[in-house]
Symmetry: C2
Subunit: 339 residues, 2 copies
């Protein structure tokens, strides 16, 4: 049974034979309204399933209580998990979340940004696409006074912006140190797409751990790949090319890539396969099902990254932090040893 007259304040007012403002005040618990009146109004509202129209309220209050999130891909567990932190905290504070996927396409990212701009989101949390070079579509938000928090992926050059990042330097440092402590001195590093900047910190963590522990560095132990399996195999072939100079351990920038690497080494019956110890970023839930799992994982705590992003954003929205007082928040990684 479809009810066609929308239940608005006006409608309630007519039913109750009072003015719209009395109804409004009753529902918002104004102290000046008679208790009995309030009760009558509230009962009627419940009975008729009155729901205030958010568009009207937004228009009036000049805010939407919506947080926009732009991220590359929900298929990546890191982002899905980070959303958990965002949503949880946002909901607690009366905000809704609109998630928009860029699929790592700058054009789609611009579309999403404009959509969220029209929706007058109160704040934006964004993990930029791999290809994003121009930031004008995101700068528009701050120009309108809407705070933006970059998370995880952020502009490499020293742009003035709020950022919340995983401490991948520390994560990679700890992983490398862990392997050194287990006696390895030939530790390979498998990095991500070179053009992007998200893996430099990891590499630096690797390098610094070597240096701090007086393990000699060799360029032969460093290779780069993207998310493509063929590239990963090519990179691994390179790392393990020199029989006199064979890595005994491996640190990888992302776990799925590490799994490809392990699978490949196993498939070619690498002589020392069982002795090779590896660690990657991610801590994928499926590791428990692998027969030759990495010895440990670098847990990036995505929920915490998301939570820190939304917390910062809310502080900016509430003007507890000045929008031009740019913040940088680092979330520590945690080495999780398996088995």
């Amino acid at each position: 049974m479809t009810n066609n007259t929308p239940v608005t304040l006006k409608f309630l007012a007519e039913k109750l034979k009072m003015s719209v403002s009395t109804v409004s005040k009753s529902l918002n618990n104004y102290p000046t309204i008679n208790a009995y009146t309030k009760q009558r109004v509230q009962e009627m509202a419940r009975e008729l399933h009155f729901m205030p129209n958010k568009s009207a309220i937004n228009l009036k209050e000049k805010r939407s209580r919506i947080i926009g999130v732009i991220l590359p891909n929900l298929l990546d567990h890191f982002f899905t998990r980070s959303i958990y932190g965002v949503e949880q905290f946002a909901t607690q504070n009366g905000y809704n979340v609109i998630i928009s996927q860029s699929h790592d396409d700058p054009k789609k990212e611009i579309q999403s940004a404009n959509m969220l701009l029209r929706s007058r989101v109160d704040g934006l949390i964004v993990a930029i696409s791999k290809q994003t070079q121009d930031f004008s579509h995101l700068d528009q938000f701050e120009q309108m006074g809407t705070p933006v928090v970059y998370y995880t992926r952020n502009p490499s050059f020293n742009l003035n912006c709020h950022k919340v990042l995983g401490n991948t330097f520390q994560g990679c440092y700890d992983a490398t140190k862990f392997l050194i402590d287990r006696g390895h001195s030939k530790i390979a590093y498998l990095g991500g797409p070179k053009m992007t900047n998200f893996t430099h910190d990891r590499f630096n963590g690797y390098i610094n751990a070597l240096k701090d522990n007086e393990v000699p560095f060799s360029a032969k132990f460093v290779a780069y790949t993207d998310f493509d399996k063929e590239n990963t195999i090519a990179a691994i072939k390179n790392l393990f090319a020199d029989p006199d100079h064979m890595p005994t351990a491996l640190v990888a920038f992302k776990e799925p890539i590490l799994f490809d690497a392990i699978k490949y080494l196993k498939s070619i019956n690498h002589p020392n396969f069982n002795k090779i110890e590896s660690i990657g970023f991610g801590n994928n839930a499926f590791i428990g099902y692998l027969d030759s799992p990495p010895i440990a994982s670098i847990e990036e705590n995505p929920e915490s990254v998301g939570e820190n992003a939304i917390k910062l954003l809310l502080q900016l929205i509430n003007k507890e932090i000045d929008i031009e007082n740019y913040q940088k928040v680092m979330v520590d990684c945690k080495l999780v040893v398996h088995g």
Copy 2:
């Protein structure tokens, strides 16, 4: 640099010394407006980054161009993939999507529903939580004339509603048939939580495949579990308890559960472990990394399920289908053989 005066039609009108309505008409390309005027307005609008306020438009047009989605959990790849289909098609048609996770908690589901109701979504796509018994929070939408499409998970009793479902009967039938054709006659079925209704069709598919191929059914070959690992192991222990009556194949209602089962059987060095062939619902991307993978997977085509849901919803929104002309759409599963 923060600009504080919002760029509205009024603001543009003042700048251009014309009326608000002329500005509005120019931007919406009204035929009655002078070409030169249009041009001036559009240039100014672009220059000042004018973005129409969606709240105002929604209020005026009595619609939001927002589709609400309520689902249990984005960590489940099925749902994440289904969102892909929804989002793609929604965006193409000028709709935004608000996703809300219930985390399988009916209370949270009600909250989400009310939030989306206040946002005056034009339509709702929902996969109900495991525990949802009462549907009044969802019925409200139809009462307001807002169409609702249930997808994947839907009320078991013959409620009048629009549904889009994976054809799990066919999926399970095909899987069982596949195992029979490979010579198995002792095929176990590992089902999901009994109280919920989403696994009955699967069980029926299993049963019917046995019957159609004259393979005797035994209650000893059927066990149920939930998503908890301990329960799964207990169920598997039961299935493989009788040495004279040992399954040689296994069909499971969900892949992660199947992985737990495989891992357990391997861990106890089950004598015929290498001969046991198994199939589960999901087709997880991770399967390629397993040493003892299922022989095949039942691909549920979640993107297609999502796409069918949004297509149906848009037809309902556009009144191409009457809201009371309840539709049921089935999306076929596909058996994917590995290796």
